[in-house]
Symmetry: C2
Subunit: 534 residues, 2 copies
């Protein structure tokens, strides 16, 4: 069953190898875990519901405390601390699980009539507070889309599939695989996040280099709004004015509820493999990565860890003999202390993969890269969706872990990366606490790339102190990002956590445009209040 107070399946646990524990203790000291609240104690604190649906809606809406607890929070670190401490704050007054467009329209009409806030809920994997209810005096109904999870149509010529918006990653892929297709959208949250959520929050997957971001995969669909049904027809491309799809992408529930997604597919590849190259220094590694994408080498994924992430990953990997041998080999070939690990994938026909691999190896070699084959790449592929479980393992040891991500142009990558890491590393110095910080680049574009930084710090002796540590790091770094040409989010969306920083990025007139759309579709601010724009 799904964990009520953390990530994923409660029967699955990642253990931290001893060597990894020692590594972290060395860097930031030993942790001391905080006590978790129990589900029972939290359920006991859920207030009476303020919803009183009539008989026609009664069966659709679940107001039991446990259901409301399980839909109250996402997966940000603030959400985690709320769930672990039991200090949830606001709970939704009920959770509706509609099974049809008709039921979604009923819920919208009811919410408009009764002045109820609606919060759309996909996989509940937001790390930016998208699905957290707020207290603005109105009752809150969370609309969980999980029953609308089927492949509704597939056009094999146009390679377009229509899905219910609540279809989670594994169900998207398994239903397509039966027909010989893949969507190819693999965010780290893949196990739980949904295709409608990907569209609503402008998600990007690990193989976006081949398949594109959700913006490129989203061909059209259906949005139920308070003004009626918005149907987005599918065209391969169009010059007929502003693209309405692009207004729905990233709308985060403010315009309406996405109920159906038409997505662009690819035939299952003949071949796929993941390869690892080590570089002796960051400059060579970053340059090689930039050239791979600017030269249009047909890779399906690319990820470049900086020296500290490389060191951390090798230390936490737990295969000490293998890693030891590897490190001796790399050291002999010039990649020592400051080495940086690049993982890349090739996907397609055998011939395409062979060509791309040759091209990539040539570029890497020209920049001092040492190619090590597919062994570590296979490990990456095997564990690609399990990283979120790591938070649990660290938590048990008294550590909190979070990530921050942005994207910027190439001329600014080193500058912004340095600012982010330094700010996080020194951010708790006034508390005499250290932070362990490391970064990778992923999602490469000719223009720039995403910067994905992980930071680990010790929990405080109380929840309040732990939250304060996180808030300081998160807020100051977010300010730094938008002040220095970074987007507030490359792949996690805005939600409530990033909303204060959005105006710097969009500017006054950009915000005016977004607000005018929100108020046109939802003049009474019924839908997902305080998300995206305050």
């Amino acid at each position: 069953m799904r964990r009520w107070n953390g990530w994923g399946d409660e029967t699955f646990n990642l253990a931290m190898p001893e060597q990894g524990q020692a590594f972290l203790a060395d860097r930031i000291g030993n942790g001391s875990p905080l006590a978790d609240a129990s589900l029972e104690s939290v359920c006991a604190r859920v207030p009476e519901t303020r919803l009183s649906p009539g008989p026609e809606l009664h069966d659709l809406i679940d107001t039991r405390p446990e259901t409301r607890v399980r839909h109250a929070r996402g997966q940000s670190l603030a959400d985690w601390l709320a769930m672990r401490s039991g200090e949830f704050g606001v709970f939704p007054d009920g959770v509706a699980c509609p099974a049809s467009n008709e039921e979604v329209r009923q819920l919208l009409a009811w919410a408009a009539k009764e002045n109820i806030n609606l919060v759309p809920y996909g996989g509940g994997t937001s790390v930016a507070g998208h699905i957290n209810p707020v207290d603005n005096g109105r009752p809150v109904l969370t609309v969980a889309m999980g029953r609308m999870n089927r492949l509704l149509d597939l056009d094999p010529d146009s390679q377009i599939a229509t899905f219910g918006a609540g279809t989670p990653g594994p169900l998207v892929e398994s239903q397509l695989r039966a027909h010989g297709f893949t969507l190819g959208h693999f965010p780290q949250s893949f196990e739980l996040s949904t295709i409608g959520g990907w569209v609503a929050a402008r998600s990007s997957g690990q193989q976006s280099l081949r398949y594109g971001r959700i913006e490129q995969l989203f061909a059209g669909g259906r949005v139920e709004t308070l003004q009626g049904t918005l149907t987005l027809p599918t065209f391969p491309a169009s010059s007929a004015g502003p693209d309405i799809r692009e207004m729905v992408l990233g709308s985060e529930g403010r315009l309406g509820l996405i109920t159906e997604v038409k997505a662009r597919l690819t035939r299952l590849p003949e071949h796929e493999s993941f390869h690892v190259v080590f570089f002796p220094d960051w400059d060579s590694a970053r340059t090689a990565s930039r050239l791979l994408v600017q030269n249009r080498t047909q890779l399906s994924m690319l990820r470049l860890s900086n020296a500290v992430e490389t060191e951390t990953q090798l230390a936490l990997a737990g295969h000490s003999r293998l890693i030891g041998m590897l490190e001796r080999l790399l050291s002999l070939r010039g990649a020592g202390e400051a080495k940086c690990m690049m993982t890349f994938g090739v996907t397609g026909s055998r011939q395409q993969c062979q060509n791309a691999l040759q091209e990539a190896r040539r570029t890497c070699k020209a920049h001092k890269g040492v190619y090590t084959g597919t062994r570590l790449g296979d490990k990456w592929a095997a564990k690609r969706f399990t990283m979120p479980y790591f938070r649990e393992a660290l938590w048990q040891m008294g550590y909190a872990v979070d990530t921050l991500e942005t994207a910027t142009d190439w001329d600014n990558v080193d500058n912004l990366l340095g600012l982010i890491e330094t700010n996080l590393r020194d951010g708790l110095a006034d508390r005499q606490e250290k932070t362990h910080v490391f970064t990778h680049l992923s999602h490469f574009y000719s223009q720039g790339c995403s910067i994905y930084t992980t930071y680990v710090f010790r929990v405080g002796n109380r929840y309040e102190e732990t939250l304060a540590r996180w808030q300081k790091l998160k807020t100051s770094t977010s300010e730094l990002i938008v002040a220095n040409r970074g987007t507030i989010s490359h792949q996690h969306g805005v939600g409530k956590d990033h909303a204060p920083f959005l105006p710097v990025e969009k500017g006054e007139l950009g915000m005016l445009a977004i607000r005018s759309l929100c108020s046109t579709f939802d003049p009474d601010a019924i839908l997902n209040p305080e998300t995206l724009v305050k």
Copy 2:
């Protein structure tokens, strides 16, 4: 000098070979040309200007009749007939040529104060009535962006160039070439159209398969609006809410005047070549084209002519000996009467081009394609921007030529293509007139492709009759397109000519979204009235 009443440079003429004349006469009968109005006679009919700029704007605004004539019309067939007959209808009251953002802001402020309609003007190449002034009682000032035509900045690492919005295609490329870069945006209007116009009307170039549409190339920039300056920052990608760039793309002057465009570049390729393959039948040809793009073969352009277009092109090419030999060879290899010509390009490193060429040849061969090398491809490349001059040659012979284009999903390509061609072919039967109709597919996507249909008909014995013939064909086919899952335009935008058909495509709520943006930025409808939305 630029032709005042048609396409391009007045010293350049395409001659129609004798064989081509015979071909057309055989298909639709001999033409009988109409008499052209003179520039002098048109200038004499230009009314007094209604503008009276104060001294601070006086030097910026040209109210001479000839200037107003030269900025009154675009390049649609209706514009052509207006220019040739001298029946222009509405002229702008003056033409401003600002050289800076500051001057654009001055013009906006003046227009708002004096209640003057502003029409932004790039290269004047619209084929959908974008830049035609309308008579709604207000004076009209056309703002020609041609003085803002410089490369303002180039970031070689991020591969981003900043251009003045009025920079035309050749100046874009020549300024970039000096630095080793290309934008790679080559619409047929390349010679005259501007980078700002491409953004405003969502243009697509002949090599969009490699470089992307203008949507992919437009990284950000600057729009002067009546509410202030809208600055679009550059990010490689972002999940931070709806993308404001996508609201500016296709806004056709309704939100503001685009003054600066930041565009994504590519290094000049090591190699580029264009190749031609003939297929014995449409089915094989269309299937091969679809697979090339769905298999992600790294082509830089792809164009597939149907049998009538293939026949017409070979007949009009004028190299009768070469073509005769080719046809005998193809006939021997199974590509006879119904043969279809595919042209494709490979661009990139030598190795990439070699790999892509191999892959493309393999796919074509598997679908009965006969590869004929680069000779015809070279001819295509040499003439790629001269097709618009053909209208002049046909006009002298008493023929009118126009094109219609759309895009649709693969499952609908044959259906829609058939409907369009049949409707055009039979459209003048009530007048006992024939139309010569042929089509190519270009701009291929995994999901579908564009359909580009050319039609030639005899002019009537009067201008009114000629216009009536065109209106009947254009209107009835446009209705058919949007009623049958086609976009009203894949690459030419909406303008005034396509505006009546847009609501079918966008739906009521899509139109609501667009209208709300327009009225937010331009509540008094000062900017380019009746364009995009009525």
